[in-house]
């Protein structure tokens, strides 16, 4: 008895009996941006807003203030273990943060029910593609494991200007396949009912992007 694998491979080889020899793929599409950094940033903002993300600006120094403003006085939010704590406002009696360890098999990781109860998650990001308005998370310590940017209803995401590129090929070049990748283009959405776009189905219904100079 041959295995399914052996059978399938044998079938494929029989089907390729004509021995096709396709040419090396031609990659004449754009792989290097010609845009200035400023124009690239403007493009990203335009596309983020087009997909109903909220865009804010800050510097490293003004970041805590901006995040404080976005969270308001009453908020319980989660951060990944590797997030730069200097970016965050001081905790108050009514505004508290909790740190997720990044490994749900070890202590210090929030349960799904706990994640469902937080008001927001704050993370950094790896690279952002201006042309498509896409933010890439690559499971780095300051981005956390995937569940923490999925279950909470609001994602506040920091995008450093130095991480903005124009093109998808430039973005792919900056991520690693060795850790999970999540590409985010606006809040979760559906157009399944009469093709009317509704922001927010299962993922975070609010996406706040803070662009940091």
């Amino acid at each position: 008895m041959t295995t399914a694998k052996e059978d399938i491979l044998a079938r494929i080889r029989a089907s390729l009996a004509d021995n096709p020899q396709p040419a090396e793929p031609v990659r004449a599409y754009r792989r290097q941006s010609q845009l200035s950094a400023e124009a690239t940033k403007e493009m990203l903002v335009d596309r983020l807003i087009d997909y109903k993300a909220n865009v804010f600006y800050a510097t490293e120094d003004s970041l805590p203030e901006k995040i404080e403003e976005l969270l308001g006085a009453n908020a319980h939010y989660v951060i990944p273990e590797g997030l730069n704590q200097a970016w965050l406002p001081e905790d108050t009696a009514t505004r508290t943060r909790v740190t997720d360890s990044g490994n749900d098999q070890k202590s210090g990781a929030l349960s799904l029910r706990e994640l469902d109860k937080v008001d927001a998650v704050i993370t950094n990001s790896t690279v952002s593609c201006a042309e498509t308005g896409t933010i890439f998370l690559n499971s780095n310590p300051d981005e956390g494991r995937r569940a923490i940017t999925l279950v909470p209803d609001r994602h506040i995401c920091v995008v450093k200007e130095s991480t903005i590129v124009e093109l998808i090929p430039e973005s792919i070049a900056r991520i690693s396949y060795e850790r999970p990748v999540t590409m985010i283009s606006g809040p979760s959405a559906t157009s399944d009912i009469e093709l009317i776009r509704v922001e927010g189905v299962h993922g975070p219904r609010t996406l706040d992007v803070i662009i940091v100079a």
């Binding site: 031609v26 990659r27 004449a28 995937r146 999540t182 979760s188 559906t190 399944d192 093709l195």
Partner: protein, 541 residues
């Protein structure tokens, strides 16, 4: 599974939902009487067409991306055994398990075994063409396992106990009021005053499924792209239900057709541009996930991929038809097809509707099985599907080739012999000798020289508004534009290429010329069909 030997190497066709269940014209004719389906589909395809055209128009290098996409896929197919083994090695090294399935039943069986081993009787699912093709949900149901669809449209269709009508917007045949009624009837504990506002309906789904996401330990998905060199899998989606299924359960089973591979991770830079713009008409879909095997402490720790043949190797055996395996399931060809827009997805019987379905189903399932031989005729060969295809699948070319095979098959059945009863004799008459006609340049030329004669039957309005018998079922709802008085090929010859090299008789007709000659016919067909529809409505039919 059927194994067919026609003096050729044996090919193995697939099974499951890859068959037309009755002749396409008959099915389509019935679907055409469904006014709501036609109105909704017309609205949906029109809207997505416009969105697609806008975002494709934004890219100066769209044609370069299409070329790269097509060439990469050709490379994958030519080296499929090597890439599959490379993928298996890398996915396994990253902590995953790889299974191989010759057909749909084997794939379903493998999935069931894994589910049973986990000891559960309910699983959550991401919308997947491969599992729709294999009939996984029904199979699991028979074995006591409920599969919960989590894509909103699939959820609606599943709750309504219906079938998807479009691969991208499967519930487009329901309007919001119907969806509200389905939800009120089928979702336990849904609020009694649920309105038909889409946002409120989406909220109802969010509340229902959150518990399913949190409580289920097994998820089943399809795959958009698998990377041979790294063992990475990727899924594109909109709602976040995909991320939930890919992240929260401990066990993930992914169904993947053997043709879904790309050689390297960098190849995603091409396909992640081609797919969303062609599919939903967005610059990028809201969420794309990529994962390489198991990540400790993050996401499923028990990861399975089922590599499925189910007729794909049969498709691969055809030098003309194998390009159908390049398909990335974007649905752009459906949204531009005048036949699909009016007949709807159900009329194609198979999981794969529209122009791509018309070339994929007969090849996957065998043109000789059920009524698959009627599918290649579900097209006006206007060429719009080829123009929008992100990986340049020459659908009209394959359609013409398959029409020849359909005729061969019917001929072998003795259906052209005089006096024999046959369900659609007009089709026979039209298709008699079609293979020779389309395949031979000389014959095609002779046939085209006869074109001016057809003007005799077109009448004063210069359109053919009635044809007898089978074809009449189609022309009753739309007018076929009058054939051009001079064919492109004859025009070409009389103007430029008088000394054109003679093609050998076995050579196929240059389909690009046919497409060129038919340019603009799609809009014309749309306009005429709409005008005829308005006229009928005005008469109060």
């Amino acid at each position: 599974m059927t194994a067919v030997s026609l003096g050729m190497p044996q090919v193995f066709h697939g099974e499951g939902n890859i068959f037309e269940k009755e002749p396409f014209p008959k099915y389509a004719k019935r679907e055409l009487t469904n006014e709501q389906l036609r109105a909704n589909l017309g609205f949906a395809t029109g809207k997505i067409r416009t969105k697609r055209a806008n975002v494709v128009g934004e890219l100066p290098d769209w044609q370069d991306l299409r070329t790269a996409g097509s060439m990469i896929k050709q490379r994958v197919m030519a080296n499929l055994p090597e890439y599959l083994e490379m993928f298996e090695k890398n996915f396994t090294a990253a902590g995953g398990h790889v299974h191989w399935a010759r057909n749909a039943t084997e794939a379903n069986q493998i999935a069931l075994d894994i589910i049973k081993a986990e000891g559960v009787n309910e699983i959550i699912k991401i919308k997947s063409m491969a599992t729709a093709e294999s009939g996984l949900n029904e199979y699991l149901e028979e074995h006591g396992v409920s599969a919960i669809e989590t894509d909103l449209a699939e959820e609606i269709v599943q709750l309504a106990d219906d079938r998807p009508s479009h691969i991208l917007v499967p519930a487009i045949h329901f309007n919001r009021t119907q969806i509200r009624d389905i939800f009120k009837q089928k979702i336990e504990g849904v609020k009694v005053d649920l309105s038909d506002n889409p946002a409120e309906l989406a909220e109802a789904s969010r509340i229902r499924l959150r518990d399913k996401f949190f409580n289920n330990s097994v998820a089943v998905s399809g795959v958009n792209f698998g990377i041979a060199e790294t063992g990475t899998l990727s899924i594109v989606e909109s709602e976040g239900n995909g991320r939930m299924c890919l992240t929260l359960p401990n066990t993930l089973i992914s169904f993947m057709g053997i043709e879904k591979l790309l050689p390297s991770f960098d190849d995603l830079e091409v396909f992640l541009q081609l797919l969303p713009r062609s599919s939903t008409g967005e610059r990028m879909n809201p969420y794309t996930s990529m994962w390489t095997g198991v990540t400790p402490g993050d996401g499923p720790q028990n990861m399975h991929v089922i590599l499925i043949d189910n007729g794909r190797t049969a498709v691969l055996s055809d030098e003309v038809g194998r390009q159908a395996l390049h398909c990335i399931r974007c649905s752009a060809c459906m949204n531009v097809c005048p036949v699909y827009e009016r007949a709807g997805g159900h009329a194609y019987g198979s999981t794969y509707p529209g122009p791509i379905g018309a070339i994929l189903s007969p090849q996957l399932g065998g043109i000789e099985n059920e009524f698959n031989s009627t599918l290649p005729f579900a097209s006006s060969l206007c060429g719009a599907c080829y123009e929008v295809c992100p990986v340049k699948i020459n659908i009209p070319d394959v359609l013409v080739d398959l029409r020849g095979k359909a005729v061969d098959f019917e001929k072998a059945q003795g259906k052209f012999k005089g006096g024999k009863k046959h369900p659609h004799p007009q089709m026979d008459a039209i298709m008699f000798g079609a293979k020779q006609l389309f395949r031979s340049g000389k014959m095609m030329e002779l046939a085209e020289q006869a074109l001016p004669a057809s003007h005799l039957v077109t009448g004063k309005q210069h359109k053919i508004s009635w044809l007898p018998g089978l074809i009449g079922g189609w022309t009753k709802y739309r007018d076929i534009p009058e054939p051009p008085s001079q064919s492109f090929r004859n025009w070409w010859k009389t103007t430029e290429h008088k000394s054109d090299k003679k093609r050998s008789s076995g050579e196929r007709v240059e389909i690009a010329a046919l497409i060129e000659a038919n340019k603009g016919k799609r809009e014309e067909a749309h306009a005429k069909a709409n005008a005829a529809q308005s006229a009928r409505e005005a008469q109060g039919e």
